[in-house]
């Protein structure tokens, strides 16, 4: 439900002049709700930016998300991040 809610919030914000990028943990739902820009992560619910105390991974997710604000030219685009839970590189 959370994944639908953020997609709907993102669409309303975008409609009202704010650029958005939305993380997602449920690909099938993002494909239906279609937030303006989506970053899909393969992480468990409760930790969309990565596992606890894994600052390196969390920063990678944040930067990849913010990069999409710059690089995405296709409304509704979904960027599937290749990062793995607990990865340390």
């Amino acid at each position: 439900m959370c994944n639908q809610s953020v997609g709907l919030i993102a669409r309303e914000l975008e409609e009202n002049g704010i650029a958005t990028v939305t993380l997602n943990m449920f690909l099938e739902l993002a494909e239906k709700v279609l937030p303006p820009r989506t970053v899909n992560v393969n992480f468990p619910f409760g930790a969309p930016f990565g596992d606890p105390d894994n600052k390196k991974l969390q920063l990678k997710v944040i930067k990849a998300s913010l990069d999409m604000l710059d690089s995405c030219n296709t409304p509704g685009e979904i960027n599937e991040l290749p990062y793995n839970w607990r990865e340390s590189n």
């Binding site: 669409r11 409609e15 009202n16 704010i18 239906k32 969390q58």
Partner: protein, 159 residues
């Protein structure tokens, strides 16, 4: 996870008319960010049910959820943030708030001049919400606040 099974479950248990919103035949709203990230003002918005300890908790009893949102100031210490959301495991955020509400990391990016600034006021909804009309109306209200505060972009995350 299977979308159809969730829909069946929600129809049986909560709302016989439940369905996820399908926007596939609708236009996707889209604003090109007119500046570089390193000069943009970024707001963090979560659906994790986060709120200040002294703020009103989200309604976790209503089976239709809670469409409201709470403001969390930029410099809030993680210890002052509480969660009212019963639909996800809090074990990760209890250990490290950056897993789901990375204010601290965004401030680090601001200090390194990788983003313009983190908003003074950041926000959380409680993502379990079936009151879609109210949720959207509150998002519109929030968008107006953000525009008035010169926010350029939002990093939005579910939990």
């Amino acid at each position: 996870m299977d979308l159809k099974k969730i829909v069946e479950f929600m129809r049986e248990e909560v709302d016989p008319d439940f369905d996820f919103e399908d926007n596939r035949d609708k236009e996707v709203p889209f604003n090109k960010l007119d500046k570089k990230i390193n000069t943009a003002n970024i707001v963090l918005i979560s659906s994790g049910g986060f709120h200040l300890k002294n703020d009103e908790p989200f309604d976790t009893d209503d089976p239709m959820g809670d469409p409201s949102y709470r403001m969390i100031p930029k410099d809030t210490e993680p210890e002052l943030i509480k969660i009212s959301h019963t639909h996800y495991d809090h074990k990760y955020v209890n250990k490290d708030l950056n897993c789901a509400f990375p204010l601290q990391l965004l401030k680090e990016l601001e200090n390194k001049k990788e983003i313009g600034a983190v908003a003074d006021e950041n926000y959380s909804f409680m993502g379990y919400c079936l009151k879609i009309k109210e949720l959207k109306a509150n998002a519109v209200e929030l968008a107006k606040k953000l525009k008035n505060k010169d926010i350029d972009a939002a990093l939005i995350s579910p939990t």
